[in-house]
Symmetry: C2
Subunit: 397 residues, 2 copies
Amino acid sequence: MGHDAPLFYEDPVELVRGDGVWLEAADGTRYLDLYNNVPCVGHANPRVAAAIAEQAATLNVHSRYLHANVVDYTERLVGLHHDGIESVILACSGSEATEMALTMARSLTGKKGVICTDATYHGNTSLVSKLTGLPVGTDRDGVRSISTPQMYRPLANGLTEAELCQRYLDQLAATIAQFEADGLGFAGIMLCSILANEGLPTAPGGWFTEATEMVRDAGGFVIADEVQAGFARSGNWWGYDTSGFTPDIVCMGKPMGNGLPVSGMAASHDMITSFRGKQRYFNTFAASPLQAAAGMAVIDEITDRDLVASVASVGAALKTSLLALQASQARMGDVRGHGLFIGIDWVVPGTNEPDVDGAAAMVEALKARCMLLGKAGQHGNVLKIRPPLVFQQDHAD
Amino acid sequence: MGHDAPLFYEDPVELVRGDGVWLEAADGTRYLDLYNNVPCVGHANPRVAAAIAEQAATLNVHSRYLHANVVDYTERLVGLHHDGIESVILACSGSEATEMALTMARSLTGKKGVICTDATYHGNTSLVSKLTGLPVGTDRDGVRSISTPQMYRPLANGLTEAELCQRYLDQLAATIAQFEADGLGFAGIMLCSILANEGLPTAPGGWFTEATEMVRDAGGFVIADEVQAGFARSGNWWGYDTSGFTPDIVCMGKPMGNGLPVSGMAASHDMITSFRGKQRYFNTFAASPLQAAAGMAVIDEITDRDLVASVASVGAALKTSLLALQASQARMGDVRGHGLFIGIDWVVPGTNEPDVDGAAAMVEALKARCMLLGKAGQHGNVLKIRPPLVFQQDHAD
């Protein structure tokens, strides 16, 4: 893995096995996993493990031969989306999906300008990493950012929610206009549907709907990054359902294969066909029978165990408990999020000033109490609670 | 998979299962697989399938916790390389590995100029695809190409092999010098160690050794793309052993997990540590226990079944048979390659003019005789014979 490979915790955890929402360390400690979104239907999920085992023992080849399960899987996958999402190109990592989405948006519009928020992360490739930590007002090879829309640390104080929303929308409009003025043109916006890396801020009401309409009116594509937001995480199948907008392009990843590398980029038939016509794209390991087997088992589990509803109710109850706790804990500046993705904005009491060290100490303290979680957000001070979707009320208790 | 997903054959093959070097179609036809390098230790290899099954049923998480098998696997993997390769960063796809390698070469040298051949393919990301089909004399954002070194269709006629080698080396020297003259500086060269996508041309003797020494003397890194060349394919563990050079950076992919997505980029400890210090890199699905389990089983199979020696001897015998056949088949312009990666340059009889349609017809004709192979090369006319490594003499017969 290389020296200096990034590890969690001052004293890293060595894991040996997992089961549902539990992780067992080499020293025998059993941790409640409040962190991992990839093993969405539970660590070592038996149905997914069996599907992988059977397919690995039968056949696993690339996608230039036909395989019935791959066709079935891709059809089922796009069927989970709104009607405009009709076709998907599978890949292995989320970065490959976001890379394809940006490339497609630029290719189909013939324009270069891409907008993201100023506190995001959409992947690790040379192209996609241009969107990482990009301050407002700077241009990175045709990528520019807007301020992350949020109620808790707003762009300006003293405004009504509607006025604040308009302020954020005005900034978006100006950014689009500047792309046109600079001759780059506007290709689209890429947004995590629930602003996960931004720290799950609550955007002013209506922002997602109005911002995405503005993008489309300007001829740009709306790209929803559902790598973290998707697959029931927010209490709906997709984060865009929760946030109230309709994307043209969707990127999926992390939970798709419960840990087996699978990702995908989906859009309308016309868009995908046109993209394929312009751009050679082949991915050796993608659209394989193994990916299809794992992916189908994940969808089966989410569906058969009714995890969308479960996430919504368990998540709502958890958030209610945390909001109650907030009343007596002044460091919990803001409790927010959707479904089983909840953020606690850890602050200096009496202010909304981020307390990064305090959040880090909480992560370590909870580890000592056998609970694994992490921190994220624009300032790195947001405790993120994001357990496998099979997390239940008794785990919360 | 999207409409217009690229498929092989006029009437694509629908596969249902595999076993060793055999693939079975939905219509019951059993094909001898002369094409697939990814399932290197055989389709549905029992040891790999069992390792994947066991690990999927036990634990599969990302690399920010420790896992003993991941450490063991990465140590074993780098131990298969020359002494200067000490540390590896795992990823999912070959493109992610080559992307990291280029980024690292540029980051550590602080220079931009990258050289590749004019008939190569190293991956599908925005950065790496700049190396695809790049004509000599053009600049693509700091990437420039040299003519593919080859004896069969040489850069100039009437030269001795040594003179031809020098001509190719002179072109490389001029390309490096031009990068310096243009103020871009020189970061390194990326080469498939056996020039696979170029059509496996035989380079003039000494070219690899002298070219890579020239690169290093000029301060650039030598990046070996072993995604196709590695893991015993050429009759040695690594293509660079076969071609006779010592890379600073190695990219690995396709066969690593026998079809499970695994790839890696390896170099010295110092280089990897320095790269990690400069660049955030995290890959959700990579360096996972599942990758380690599959990867370790593949190495075990290659080692325990002595596939390096087997590939060398079976491949040599196959090549000898094909060379004998060439005497009576004027369309077989050149038979070349290493180990179980053999190319047949299909030509208009009496010339070295590529016969692309003839090669395509041969691929279809061999399918009708229940053999799957493909074509590749600079002109798309090279039949490539590249079966799983477990291919034996009786399969060849």
